[in-house]
């Protein structure tokens, strides 16, 4: 049995278009894999297949050696948790109730769920607004509640769907640093993003680097470590720009420049 998340030659088609074309990928426990690519490359589709929300036309997604689509939802939720771009809030339930719902997979009492939810909220820095309605929270606060849900679900694997898309720089930094901590504490992370610089926040200087997988038009274009020297070149090709890698205080940063070269 292979531990972790495995995509095996996954192909997804919709309305005559191929969204994913024979994509294979493995996220071992304790590994951080980032899927980067331009909009429309198939990143979200890939995540939905991994979550079992979408059945591929061919190929399989496996979690710990079992086909995701053959797992009952509770078993899947015990292994995989999902952090969406933005927490939908149809109704003004409290942050606490929101996090309690992440405990659905546990056969436990309400009291036990609430205790676990309070703990997760405190850990995610959301303890002070546990009893406020989520509809009244700012985008950053709401995402902290979502992170608390992720923690409360207690899964070995975590899937991130551009969770910092709607956040300001300080909150982006905070969120990805937190994900970096989760990673170094032993969780497997699959992160989808078009902003490669957020990975810098997760990658503490002097520790091992996340793995970066470039996705272009539904295919894997390259696979490199975040600190590989040639990564900038690959990223530039992927996004159709010139991508210059530089280091600031030991953090790797990528700067996009026009392709024609030279200072404008």
């Amino acid at each position: 049995m292979t531990a972790g998340l495995t995509l095996d030659a996954v192909t997804v088609r919709a309305r005559g278009r191929t969204l994913l074309d024979s994509v294979s990928l493995h996220v071992a426990p304790g590994e951080f894999v980032a899927i980067v690519g331009p909009n429309g490359a198939g990143k979200s589709t890939l995540l939905r297949v991994a979550l079992g929300l979408l059945r591929p036309d061919s190929g399989h997604a496996f979690v710990d050696g079992q086909d995701v689509s053959s797992l009952v939802p509770r078993e899947r939720a015990a292994r995989l948790a999902w952090l969406p771009q933005r927490l939908e809030a149809a109704e003004p339930i409290t942050a606490l109730e929101q996090v309690v719902s992440a405990r659905y997979r546990f056969p436990e009492s309400r009291r036990a769920s609430e205790t676990a939810a309070h703990k997760a909220l405190a850990e995610a820095g959301a303890g002070s607004f546990a009893l406020r309605p989520i509809t009244e929270l700012s985008g950053g606060e709401r995402q902290r509640v979502a992170v608390a849900g992720l923690l409360a679900q207690e899964t070995p694997l975590v899937l991130l769907d551009e969770p910092a898309n709607f956040l300001d720089p300080a909150q982006q930094l905070e969120l990805y640093m937190r994900m970096g901590h989760l990673w170094r504490a032993g969780r497997g992370i699959l992160c989808v993003t078009h902003d490669v610089n957020v990975l810098t926040h997760a990658h503490a200087p002097g520790t091992r680097a996340p793995r970066v997988v470039g996705l272009f038009q539904g295919r894997v274009a390259f696979e490199r470590a975040h600190d590989a020297p040639e990564l900038g070149e690959h990223l530039g090709e992927l996004f159709g720009v010139r991508m210059h890698a530089t280091a600031v205080d030991g953090h790797r940063v990528f700067v996009s420049l026009p392709r024609s070269g030279g200072a404008a």
Binding site: L51, P73, R74, A77, W82, A90, I93, V100, S101, Y104
Partner: protein
């Protein structure tokens, strides 16, 4: 605190309801009270509680504050069934039930189960279910209109009266027949509370957190249809109860599913019992259809709550 107060008020309302109405004549007081008013109030409580809970559940399920049993075609199906029975003209169905009741039940359940089956589809999203419900309602409505076209004026009058919504004078037999349906629906739907809480953040999110989304929505629509079909079969489509009561509860007790769902049962029971009692006294000597009273009482109540929340 607020919850207990509301519970007490609702219980008091149900207890008082049978005493409201035109004064008793000395000889018949016992009969009118025990054989007419009390079963009628019990019927109102069963119907009000069931309809309101199903409304609250559908609103949670569809993430749509306007969702109601009519959204999945239950009302249109019942109307079609009743119309068929009226036109066939037979009085009793096999088993001694009034034919109109049996036919309305079959129609309501038939149309809603089609929608529930659609909701079980793998790639089906909630909006598709709403659309399917509207489509099925319109199809049933079209057949009803066709039937009305062939009906004579007495049949049309009967159909119109049926569609106003009224609590029948059926004594304890109706209550006994309705109780198992209402009980199955209420207990079954309340058992889904935990799953429906998770639905608030969206279906896909709920699925990722371990909720068997397709099963929950199929079971919820099916159970809801069963309960509503049984109620509508006896009473006709009683307007707005399933819409107004959950919103009243939402605005007074909050949106937490653990309060909203049981709260809707209790408030719905009391609300319809009171509306039915009022229907006896509003027009002297005549009884208004309870559907008119629910709309007339509920609508201003809801508007005032919305207005108060805005200010």
């Amino acid at each position: 605190m607020k919850v207990w107060l509301l519970l007490a008020v609702c219980l008091a309302a149900c207890a008082v309801a049978p005493f409201i109405g035109p004064g008793f004549a000395p000889g018949t007081a016992d009969f009118v009270f025990w054989q007419l008013r009390v079963p009628r109030t019990l019927m109102a409580m069963l119907v009000g509680g069931t309809l309101s809970l199903v409304g609250a559940v559908y609103q949670s399920l569809f993430a749509n504050p306007l969702a109601a049993p009519s959204t999945v075609g239950t009302t249109a199906g019942a109307t079609l069934g009743a119309l068929v029975a009226i036109i066939l003209g037979a009085r009793l169905a096999p088993g001694g039930l009034p034919l109109i009741t049996a036919a309305a039940f079959v129609g309501a359940l038939g149309v809603s189960l089609v929608v529930a089956a659609i909701a079980a589809g793998r790639r089906v999203r909630m909006n598709d279910v709403v659309l399917a419900g509207i489509a099925c309602s319109m199809a049933a409505g079209a057949i009803s209109t066709g039937l009305q076209f062939t009906a004579d004026s007495a049949e049309l009058m009967a159909a119109m009266r049926w569609s106003l919504g009224h609590l029948p004078q059926v004594g304890y037999s109706g209550v006994l027949l309705l109780t198992p349906f209402a009980a199955v629906t209420v207990v079954g739907l309340l058992a889904l509370t935990r799953a429906l809480e998770v639905f608030i953040a969206g279906e896909e999110h709920a699925e990722s957190q371990g909720v068997p989304v397709r099963r929950v929505r199929t079971v919820a629509i099916g159970l809801g249809a069963l309960g509503v079909a049984a109620c509508v079969a006896w009473c006709g489509p009683i307007a707005f109860v399933e819409l107004i009561v959950p919103h009243l509860v939402r605005r007074t007790l909050g949106v937490s599913r653990r309060v909203l769902l049981p709260g809707s049962v209790v408030v719905g029971a009391a609300f319809l019992a009171l509306c039915d009692a009022s229907a006896r006294v509003i027009l002297p000597g005549r009884e208004l259809p309870v559907g008119v009273v629910t709309a007339a009482l509920g609508a201003p109540l809801l508007v005032s709550l919305v207005a108060r929340a805005r200010s």
